[in-house]
């Protein structure tokens, strides 16, 4: 049975808290920018930017990053169109906060860091995630974690967002069900 981990209210509350933490940790918004990882991370980055604008009045630039070219699992990837990376600002000297929906092995974040480093030299890079589900395979940690959820490896965490036409929700899908969905050719990553 699929279990709901967060409902829409809880997602909103969590993102509000992360927004405040980002401002507090960085002592304001000077030089701050957000980079969402395609696709889920981009929507969350935009929501966080909106919340920061509401409390601080500052416009935080938001970029979207496709990490296909930097993945270490490209040998087993599925053929699919490479989404556009859109970074409407220079990362040089900036405080870059990477935003992703689910934090799992850490490999996507490693890829994202490499991609950002190829664009310039940020002053610092931080990581914000909505859900940390554990099972890290690399020495990477989140600076801002919405919710820590213990999971088993075969389970799947799904983040559904309004921007993609769903009601906001975070679901825990059991292993069997996740496998069934894969059989029905559902595209998806490591999450």
């Amino acid at each position: 049975m699929t279990k709901q981990l967060l409902d829409s209210k809880e997602i909103e509350r969590t993102l509000t808290r992360i927004s405040h933490e980002i401002i507090e940790r960085n002592k304001g918004t000077e030089g701050l920018c957000l980079v969402g990882i395609q696709r889920g991370g981009v929507h969350l980055a935009e929501r966080i930017a909106k919340k920061i604008k509401n409390t601080e009045g500052a416009d935080i630039p938001v970029g979207s990053l496709d990490i296909s070219f930097y993945r270490d699992d490209f040998r087993i990837r599925q053929p699919s169109v490479v989404s556009r990376t859109d970074m409407p600002f220079d990362v040089e000297g900036k405080k870059v906060v990477i935003v992703d929906d689910v934090f799992f092995t850490g490999r996507s974040i490693r890829a994202a860091m490499d991609a950002i480093m190829d664009m310039g030299r940020p002053a610092l890079v931080q990581l914000a995630v909505l859900v940390d589900r554990g099972h890290r395979e690399l020495p990477i940690r989140a600076d801002y974690a919405g919710k820590n959820i213990p999971t088993s490896r075969g389970e799947r965490v799904e983040v559904l967002l309004e921007e993609d036409g769903h009601a906001d929700s975070v679901l825990l899908v059991p292993e069997e069900e996740a496998k069934d969905r894969d059989k029905n050719n559902r595209p998806g990553g490591e999450k």
Partner: protein, 309 residues
């Protein structure tokens, strides 16, 4: 077998519209890399690409070489005058040797039509046809389609005139297959001696009148007049050719004001195209060169996804 699910890019003829769109939709992301300070991604790190060019070519070979390097592969150039082909080795033996050296992707250009298809039956490496005789030049058609998509947004109902030496042109052939599959309306224009009848079966129109062919065109694709054809009775002189089928400023007026002018290069200025047009506002000729890199990166990247069957 040779679709997007296929392991090779032998020709556009074998691709579906969906296969073509996969390459075109990804190419933009590769073009973005070329605009960056660090123009390289590790996507194909550790892969080996061999340029097996058995017909002279600098532009296409250089484009493939740079595209491969931008994806972090190692590239080896193997060209006719320096190769063992001269020492009597058969083409297949050369290709098998190249594969035994560890080539993951082999890019082949050959003066005989069908060479890549023949090699594909014997090789495990991914093959990319970089021009085979008068048959096809698929990556040229893909880069042309990508350029059109960038400039015009889409293909449905777009009026495309392809002008010049159609019969000897693998560029024209690949472009007809490609643009037809994407829904464009194609006219072939040139001297009757250089207009193949067989293309009518593909649903394209043909005319020997430049003004008729260019009337209301959104895209004008000029082909290089292969000067080695001169004196073989296909057309009187190059001066006469330019008067009849060359693209001058005046001729261009028959097309839509925002028509784009394309040329695969190398150009013969003053023979098939006037300098004022080649360097004019409608020309996208240099952008085609940049887009060639992006499209060839996309092709290598996506072929690498296909597993051995």
């Amino acid at each position: 077998m040779a679709g997007a699910s296929g392991r090779h890019l032998l020709g556009i003829k074998e691709l579906s519209a969906q296969d073509i769109m996969l390459y075109l939709n990804s190419a933009g992301s590769f073009k973005d890399i070329l605009k960056r300070d660090i123009k390289k991604v590790p996507a194909l790190r550790g892969r080996t690409v061999v340029n097996l060019f058995l017909e002279p070519s600098t532009r296409t070979r250089t484009s493939f070489e740079l595209a491969a390097k931008r994806l972090s592969t190692d590239v080896i150039n193997f060209s006719a005058p320096s190769s063992s082909i001269l020492k009597g080795e058969s083409l297949l033996d050369t290709a098998l040797t190249v594969e035994a050296l560890g080539a993951d992707i082999i890019i082949i250009r050959h003066s005989s039509s069908g060479t890549p298809h023949m090699l594909s039956r014997h090789l495990k490496a991914h093959l990319i046809n970089a021009g085979d005789g008068t048959n096809e030049h698929p990556t040229q058609a893909l880069l042309d389609a990508f350029t059109i998509k960038e400039k015009k947004g889409g293909f449905e109902g777009l009026k495309v005139a392809i002008v010049g030496d159609i019969i000897h042109s693998r560029v024209a052939k690949s472009n007809v297959y490609c643009l037809k599959k994407l829904g464009a309306d194609i006219r072939l224009v040139g001297p009757a001696t250089l207009l193949p009848e067989e293309f009518r079966e593909l649903g394209v129109s043909t005319t020997s009148s430049m003004d008729e062919g260019l009337d209301g065109a959104d895209v004008i694709m000029m082909l290089r007049l292969q000067l080695e054809r001169q004196g073989k009775g296909f057309f009187p002189t190059t001066a006469e050719y330019f008067r009849q089928w060359g693209l001058s400023k005046r001729r261009l007026e028959a097309a839509k004001p925002d028509a784009i002018v394309m040329h695969p290069g190398p150009m013969n200025r003053g023979i098939e195209i006037a300098s004022a047009v080649a360097d004019g506002d409608n020309s996208v000729i240099l952008e085609q060169v940049t887009n060639g890199l992006a499209v060839r990166m996309a092709v290598m990247y996506h072929l690498d996804e296909r597993k051995e069957q």
